[in-house]
């Protein structure tokens, strides 16, 4: 299992190995699951109450399906750890954070200073997501 380089949670990290989406439904004791780009994150919705870790794999940074997977889970109320793994680069992590990722395990560790700057780059955002940041239109109109 990929250890997160950055984690924005206070709870204890889950040590269980992540299983595939296909096998997750049959393994009633599994608490960690790994989503590949071709998986349908909605297959996990019936099981959200027992999931404590979702890893979303980005085999190549340009495959953006994982962003939708993350938002779907958060929009459905998933509150456990959502970890981006794979080809996770410094210039994508702020987008990922906005989509609900709260842990990052890049294949190649990021420069911590660069990552910190990237997470803090934009003071405001135009779109609401489940990350709780008020969009600019909400700030404009109270």
């Amino acid at each position: 299992m990929a250890e997160p380089q950055f984690r924005f949670r206070d709870d204890e990290p889950v040590g269980d190995p992540a299983v595939t989406v296909d096998s997750f439904g049959e393994q009633s004791n599994a608490a960690a699951v790994r989503i590949e780009p071709g998986d349908d994150a909605r297959d996990l919705l019936p099981h959200l109450d027992r999931i404590r870790l979702v890893e979303v794999n980005f085999p190549v940074f340009g495959d953006g399906r994982g962003y939708s997977a993350a938002r779907l889970l958060r929009e459905a109320g998933y509150a456990g750890e959502l970890r981006a793994v794979g080809d996770v680069l410094v210039d994508q992590i702020a987008f990922m954070r906005r989509c609900g990722f709260d842990a990052f395990a890049p294949d190649v560790p990021l420069n911590p200073a660069d990552a910190e700057a990237a997470f803090a780059r934009f003071d405001h955002v135009y779109q609401p997501t489940t990350d709780g940041r008020a969009p600019i239109w909400a700030l404009r109109h109270g």
Partner: protein, 542 residues
């Protein structure tokens, strides 16, 4: 015009600093070209055949005179004294140094401009009708809706790594002047019987190697759900658009393979879910934006009289000017297609002149058109003759809007690393050969692409030309019968291709077929639609 508030300005300023940091890391070797490429592309910076090309966004084609003047300044300071206006209402600079790019973005930010998302697999600059706010036939000014989309799509966290690029257009007239149905999402603003504004969504159009005309998937999305519906369209595409083959990755392929009905079903399901998520900006935000697009202070009772005693002026008025919603005013197209010129190019001096004329005679506004011309949308007729004289003296008075010399051409093999053939010299030769017959031929939209990616919109030309590589030699295919607009159609290939001189001859022959067989009032396109391909084939190959 839209004015940035502190939030909008902070966003582009932060972007400049981010890119400055990315360029620094690249120049210092901390990131590889492979890692840098998507970052520079997100900022509109392409590595072309000879240098970096920077594409600057002109949201929905609207510019103030100060913005236009800055474009001239950048052309002088960082390029070779000219810029190239594009089919997506943007401007490109072809001779940029990487180390200058952050400073250019900072200069742009000083006049509320940017190059955000002018490339990359993300939502690109939203285009619109060049006569928005001036057109007599519009239901409502489409630009506030395009601005709403601009903000929603800027740094959208979910849709920055789509299967492929994504282009949206918004219009509000039945006469489509923005090739709306050839976009990934085309929106036509309409009013229902109750007088309420809604958005008709056309999804899955495009050109490229597999041209498709977008079907309407929803004829009336309530206007306070337009962003949510767009998000649903994009989410289905991001999740299920093909990523195995970049040539099959545009949304048109997904819509085609799923079928319009199944794609629509999936969008509607996602839409129902997203309506629960509170992502739609309130109507107050639309109204805030709309207030900034209020009509300028037109002079009531301005005269509609024009002194047409100068025949050159009269010809230009009849060819390049269109009716305005306000009596006494007219919308002016400045042709960037002088006979034998490079389509869409303007010198820094010309750009500055157009800026001054906009300030003095068009309420400080200009538009870039998808046909690579410039519009002064609100000119008082009483000012028109003096304005034309200044344009004409600067080489900007060509009377050829929608004529055979008003050619759309991509940069082609003269600049572009994707091209198979040159476009510009072909455009120049056709313009030189046929411009003296411009008036006799009348409306004829000719469009040239230097490769199958179709940046020159050849599928949508009444006459289209596609440059291909045939065993190492540039070869040009001829297409007839394409059209954008309400009656959008795709051109058909006539037959075997031609060499560079041969394609010029072929175009001439096609116009001769038209001139000898047209009936009263028929345009080239009408004659082609009536008589079909055969007479043209006979003339070309017989």
């Amino acid at each position: 015009m839209y004015k940035y508030d502190t939030y909008d300005q902070a966003m582009v300023d932060a972007r400049v600093e981010e890119f400055r940091d990315q360029v620094k890391r690249r120049l210092e070797g901390h990131i590889t070209e492979d890692q840098f490429k998507p970052l520079r592309l997100m900022n509109g910076l392409y590595l072309q055949l000879h240098a970096y090309m920077l594409r600057v966004a002109v949201p929905y084609g609207t510019l103030s005179s100060a913005q236009m003047r800055m474009l001239g300044y950048i052309a002088d300071k960082y390029d070779r004294g000219y810029g190239h206006f594009t089919t997506r209402q943007n401007i490109q600079y072809n001779w940029i140094k990487l180390e200058d790019a952050p400073d250019i973005l900072a200069d742009l930010a000083s006049v509320e401009m940017h190059a955000i998302q002018t490339s990359g697999n993300c939502i690109r600059n939203t285009t619109s009708d060049q006569y928005a706010g001036a057109a007599a036939d519009e239901v409502i000014d489409p630009r506030p809706y395009a601005e709403l989309i601009r903000q929603w799509s800027t740094f959208h966290p979910e849709f920055s790594f789509l299967p492929r690029k994504f282009k949206m257009a918004v219009i509000a007239s039945d006469t489509d002047r923005a090739a709306m149905r050839l976009h990934d999402i085309g929106i036509q603003l309409v009013k229902n019987d109750a007088g309420e504004v809604g958005a008709a969504f056309y999804v899955g159009g495009g050109m490229g190697r597999t041209p498709m005309v977008a079907p309407c998937i929803n004829p009336f999305v309530p206007i306070d759900q337009m962003i949510t519906y767009s998000e649903a369209c994009l989410r289905v595409y991001n999740r299920y658009g093909r990523r195995d083959n970049k040539y099959k990755a545009r949304i048109k392929i997904l819509v085609h393979e799923l079928g319009k009905d199944e794609y629509t079903r999936q969008v509607e399901a996602e839409f129902a879910h997203l309506l629960t998520q509170g992502i739609e900006p309130p109507l107050a935000e639309l109204h805030r934006i709309q207030a900034q697009f209020a009509d300028p202070a037109f002079e009531a009772g301005a005269s509609d009289d024009l002194d047409r005693s100068d025949p050159d002026f009269a010809l230009w008025v009849d060819t390049n000017c269109v009716v305005h919603k306000q009596p006494g005013y007219i919308a002016v197209t400045i042709s960037l297609k002088p006979v034998g010129g490079i389509p869409g190019d303007a010198s820094a001096d010309q750009i500055r002149l157009m800026a001054d004329l906009a300030r003095d005679h068009s309420f400080d506004e200009l538009r870039v058109t998808h046909a690579q011309n410039i519009v002064l949308p609100h000119v008082k007729k009483a000012d028109l003759y003096g304005l034309w004289q200044q344009l004409d003296a600067a080489g900007l008075g060509t009377a050829n809007l929608d004529r055979i010399g008003d050619i759309i051409a991509c940069p082609g093999l003269d600049y572009c690393s994707l091209a198979n053939a040159r476009s510009i010299p072909v455009a120049q030769k056709i313009s030189e050969r046929l411009s003296d017959r411009s008036e006799a031929i009348g409306e004829l939209k000719l469009k040239i692409s230097g490769c199958i990616n179709a940046c020159g919109h050849h599928h949508a030309g009444h006459i289209g030309i596609l440059g291909v590589d045939r065993k190492g030699v540039e070869n040009y295919q001829l297409l007839l019968g394409g059209c954008e607009g309400a009656d959008t159609s795709l051109g058909q290939i006539t037959g075997p291709g031609f060499d560079e001189d041969g394609i010029v001859d072929a175009v001439e022959k096609a116009t001769e077929v038209y001139l000898s067989t047209r009936q009263d009032g028929e345009r080239f396109l009408d004659t082609y639609r009536r008589i079909g391909m055969a007479p043209f084939k006979e003339a070309l190959y017989g």
